[in-house]
Structures are given as structure tokens and as C-alpha cells.
């Protein structure tokens, strides 16, 4: 194990050195002939779940097609790990979600409507990080029940859960304390009939199984997850805006930000809809198991963003 790590470290150091050398040669006087300008290098990182990796590829490939020197660091981990890396410029671009990153930066944030969240985010970002225009695409928390359970208690909105008797709700552990999680269910909707079960798979297969087995009656599943449609789950509406808007937004290390970079990113965001995101997720996590980079490329082509 230890030897392995050492080898990895050496390989990593070698890669860095090689990249540095490559950077020198392409920008220095040695690179004759091609006559191209200095390429700005951009390291695109992502959180450790598949949708974020796809988004990293979407933005990254669009930049690569527009003359940026792009490399990838996918699956870095969770926010507390990758955000400091972005702040220091170890990675230069991370696709984020407006509401989540806002509440990470400002624990007292209360904005939930899309424009409010975006404005609050711009204020909350540290000096070394900038955000661009958010996409229409959003991947927010959503509370889901089985079609059967919805019919049984005639459920349409989160509010209706009041009359469903004692229920158990499954979500990621942070839902228990997040201001827009369990506390909001109580304060905003006045629900006091809920037992909480923490299942740490981000509304993934374990959560779905618990819901289908009726171990839990309500499950927090991200709105762009294909399993919602595949299993005819009913997503409860959120009339009081409990869940903050979660539009996709690229965050960039400020030293790498430029008008050219912003133009490319904004063009991508302008085309990306929630439907697209759902389709991309289904492509990668569904039966086809398309690689994230391939799925991203196909989408960019169909959107006319790359040739």
C-alpha cells in the first residue's frame, strides 16, 4: 500500500513537472511554426457524483473547443474538500449548484428563489472565486412518494403530508440539520409526524429501495434523477419554496477568469436545461452506461456548441 502511494506521488510529481515543462515549451520561443497564442490552462474539477462529473466535461470540452488547454480532476470529493482547492487555484473550474454552494458559504442564508439565491451567492463568494450566469438546469432536492402512497393519502404537495399519519423520511444525513431540510419541514409546513432516517447515498439506489419496500414513505431524491420517472414516483410540489433553487453554475478561480472564458461558459449555460441534465444523467447512470465525456460531447454537438 505504502509503496503504491509513493509511486503514485512520484507519478503525480512527474505529471506536474511534465505539465509545467509542456507549458513552458508552448508559451516560450521554442514553439515555432504553429504561431498560436498562449493557451490558458484550465483545470476542471468535479464533486464525487456522476452528474457533476458530466457537467465538468460539458464545460471543460466547450472550453477546449475554444482554445483553452483543459485538463480534468474528476471526483475530488465533497464541498469541504474541493472548494478550498478552487479557492487556492489547485483547480480552476468547478460546476456547482447555486443553493448548495450558497448555504455552504453562508450558513445563515435564507434565499430560496432563483434570482435571490444567485445574487446572494455573488456576495458570499470569497475574493478568489467568481461565478458566471447560472444555467436554467437545476438539480434540487425533491420529496418523493410512491404512486400508491400518494393515491392512498391523496398527496400532491409537501403540505398534504400532514394528513398521512406517522411517516418516515429518508435523506442524506445533512438533511436533519440543514435549514431547508427537516427544520423547514417543521417550521414552514408545520409537519410534526416525521421520523428521520439518514441514508447516505444522495437519494441513490439504497434510498430508492427503502422507499419501494415501504421502509420509508418519503424520500429526498435529487430532481434530475432518472429513477423518479422509472419508478413512477410522485414528486410532491413545494408551494412554500422550502428547497432553495439549485441552478447549475460554473465557479472559476479568479486569476483564470477572462471575458473569453466567460463567453464560452455563458453560452453553454444558456443552452443547458433541466431536461437536458436529466437526459444526460439517464445516459450515464442508466442502462447504457455511456462514459461522462462521451455523453457530454454528444450533448455539446447536438446543442451546436462544438463541431
Amino acid at each position: 500500500m505504502f509503496k503504491h502511494k509513493k509511486a503514485l506521488a512520484i507519478a503525480g510529481a512527474a505529471t506536474v513537472a511534465a505539465l509545467a515543462l509542456a507549458g513552458c515549451s508552448s508559451s516560450g520561443s521554442l514553439s515555432g511554426g504553429s504561431g498560436s497564442d498562449t493557451k490558458t490552462s484550465i483545470v476542471v474539477g468535479s464533486a464525487d457524483f456522476s452528474e457533476n462529473t458530466i457537467l465538468a466535461q460539458v464545460y471543460g470540452q466547450a472550453l477546449a473547443a475554444n482554445g483553452f488547454d483543459v485538463s480534468y480532476k474528476p471526483n475530488i470529493g465533497a464541498r469541504p474538500v474541493y472548494f478550498p482547492a478552487l479557492e487556492k487555484g489547485t483547480v480552476d473550474l468547478i460546476p456547482e449548484y447555486t443553493g448548495s454552494i450558497l448555504s455552504f458559504l453562508d450558513k445563515s442564508a435564507v434565499a430560496t428563489a432563483p434570482a435571490e439565491v444567485d445574487a446572494a451567492l455573488k456576495k458570499a463568494l470569497p475574493e478568489t472565486v467568481v461565478s458566471y450566469t447560472p444555467a436554467e438546469a437545476a438539480d434540487s432536492d425533491s420529496l418523493n412518494v410512491t404512486a400508491e402512497f400518494a393515491k392512498q393519502h391523496s398527496l400532491k404537495s409537501i403540505e398534504d403530508l400532514k394528513n398521512a399519519g406517522p411517516i418516515t423520511l429518508a435523506a442524506n444525513p445533512e438533511f436533519e440539520t440543514r435549514p431547508d431540510g427537516l427544520p423547514a419541514l417543521k417550521s414552514l409546513y408545520g409537519l410534526d409526524n416525521i421520523t428521520f432516517k439518514a441514508i447516505k447515498d444522495g437519494g441513490g439506489p439504497g434510498t430508492l429501495k427503502a422507499l419501494l419496500d415501504n421502509e420509508v414513505q418519503v424520500a429526498d431524491i435529487y430532481s434530475t434523477t432518472p429513477s423518479i420517472e422509472e419508478n413512477n414516483l410522485v414528486t410532491l410540489t413545494d408551494p412554500k419554496n422550502q428547497f432553495a433553487s439549485q441552478q447549475v453554475v460554473p465557479l472559476v478561480f479568479k486569476k483564470k477568469a477572462s471575458t473569453k472564458l466567460g463567453d464560452v461558459l455563458d453560452k453553454v449555460s444558456a443552452k443547458l436545461t433541466t431536461k437536458d441534465l436529466l437526459a444526460l444523467n439517464a445516459e450515464v447512470s442508466g442502462d447504457k452506461k455511456t462514459q461522462p465525456d462521451v455523453a457530454a460531447k454528444d450533448w455539446l454537438k447536438s446543442a451546436g456548441l462544438v463541431k
Binding site: I199, K200, G206
Partner: protein, 247 residues
């Protein structure tokens, strides 16, 4: 205040020692999962180890299966079992049992095997039945290694039982998983300190029990081989050397 101090502060906060999700409840749950898993792991591994050690049969297969199951990623296996069986205690116990079997099995059969064959033959010549040989000769003489297996399995299960928290169960893993997810690092550190402390305390208790219960002679079994190979020392004399060496 650094993170460790914050962790200890969290740990000694009176509010965290009362109520349905308090530290004592979590420790209790942790011991529950550990105890149940260890029980079933022992139920499988101990008789199997006795059989393999005593007869020498199936040793290759046991080693192969143990090694393969050691390589199984516990969390991945748990996730797969959850999909098969649904959330609950059963999947967590199954993965912990699978985790506990290899060290237990290895300890038990190595303990039995370590007993000098001549001593066993002597016992047989004295007219002991196979079961008597196992319980009166092989187990007492191999007890140190057997106990070592129990200690190793217990430690591994205590340390790994935290995975139960990933899928809605309790135990000290709750502090780790929730602490990480909720950016509550003092809680995370407190959980880590508790798991380490409990593992060390339990191992200490087991070491003490081992000292009190396990006959000391077992340490000498290896060296009797040399004497035995050296020449015609009759079994009775041999067992006397054995006792002497042990003292």
C-alpha cells in the same frame, strides 16, 4: 481552539450525554452490532477452525476463502446487500460477520495446528477420544493463538461497525457520518475518539482475560518440537518438559 480540543469539548458536553441520540445510546448500539456480529462470526468460524485444525482437512480452501473475503470492500458489499435485502440490521450484520470470520478462523485453526503432533499422538495413545483430544489437549495448548484471533476479529468489527451508519442505522458511525455530512467536525472528531477509545479499552479487557484464562504452557509447544526431534524422549517426559518450559 483546535479541532481536537473542539472534539473533546463536544464529547464532554453534557447535552450530548442525554436523550435518544446521546453518546451512551450510540455506544450501546455500537456494542449491539459488534456483539451480534462477533457471535455469528464465532458460530461459523470457531467450529470450522477446530475441524480444520484438528483434521488438517480443507485448510487450502479455508485460506483461499478467507483471503478472498478479506479483499471484499465492506462498504461496497453493504450497499449491494441493502439493494437485495433492504435497509435494516441484517445487511450490516452480514458484512461484519464476513469481516470477522477470516481473523477468527485463522486464529483458531493456527492455534490447533500449532500443538505438537507428538503430544496429540500421545493423547491418542492414552486412549482419549478425538473430542477429548480437541478439548483437553489441543484447545488449551493452542489457546493463545485462538484468543489472538478473537481479539483481532473484535477489533476489526468495532472499528468497521461505523459503516452501519451509512444506511440509516445507529452506532458511533452516526457521529462520523453525520459530522462529515453536516460539516460538524467537532462531532466527527468526537466520534473518531470514541471509536478508538472503545477499541483500545475492549482490547485491553480481552488481553486481561487472556492473561487470566489462557494456560501459559501454550507458549512452549513450539520448542518441544526440537526436543522431540532430538531423540527418544517418551511422551510423558515430553509433557513434563513442556510444563517446565512454560514456567
Amino acid at each position: 481552539m483546535n479541532l481536537f480540543e473542539q472534539g473533546f469539548a463536544w464529547l464532554f458536553d453534557v447535552a450530548h450525554w442525554m436523550g435518544p441520540t446521546s453518546i451512551p445510546v450510540r455506544i450501546g448500539e455500537h456494542f449491539e452490532y459488534t456483539g451480534i456480529s462477533l457471535f455469528f462470526a464465532a458460530l461459523i468460524a470457531v467450529p470450522l477452525g477446530f475441524f480444520i485444525g484438528h483434521t488438517g482437512k480443507g485448510r487450502g480452501a479455508a485460506i483461499a476463502i478467507s483471503n478472498v473475503s478479506r479483499a471484499l470492500p465492506t462498504l461496497g458489499l453493504l450497499a449491494a446487500l441493502i439493494l437485495l435485502l433492504g435497509i435494516g440490521l441484517l445487511p450490516a450484520v452480514i458484512v461484519l460477520v464476513i469481516l470477522g470470520i477470516p481473523p477468527l478462523l485463522a486464529g483458531v485453526y493456527a492455534g490447533i495446528e500449532s500443538v505438537d503432533r507428538q503430544t496429540v499422538d500421545a493423547a491418542r495413545a492414552m486412549g482419549m477420544t478425538e473430542l477429548q483430544i480437541l478439548f483437553k489437549v489441543e484447545i488449551p495448548l493452542g489457546a493463545a493463538l485462538i484468543f489472538g484471533g478473537i481479539r483481532a476479529a473484535t477489533l476489526q468489527i468495532i472499528a468497521t461497525a461505523v459503516v452501519a451508519a451509512y444506511f440509516s442505522l445507529g452506532g458511533l458511525g452516526r457521529l462520523l457520518v453525520d459530522g462529515l455530512a453536516q460539516n460538524d467536525y467537532p462531532q466527527l472528531v468526537a466520534g473518531a475518539i470514541l471509536v478508538i477509545a472503545i477499541a483500545l479499552i475492549v482490547d485491553g479487557i480481552l488481553a486481561l482475560i487472556q492473561k487470566l484464562v489462557v494456560p501459559r504452557v501454550s507458549a512452549g509447544t513450539r520448542s518441544t518440537k526440537r526436543t522431540a526431534r532430538g531423540g527418544a524422549i517418551p511422551p510423558v517426559a515430553q509433557s513434563r518438559t513442556l510444563i517446565k518450559e512454560g514456567q
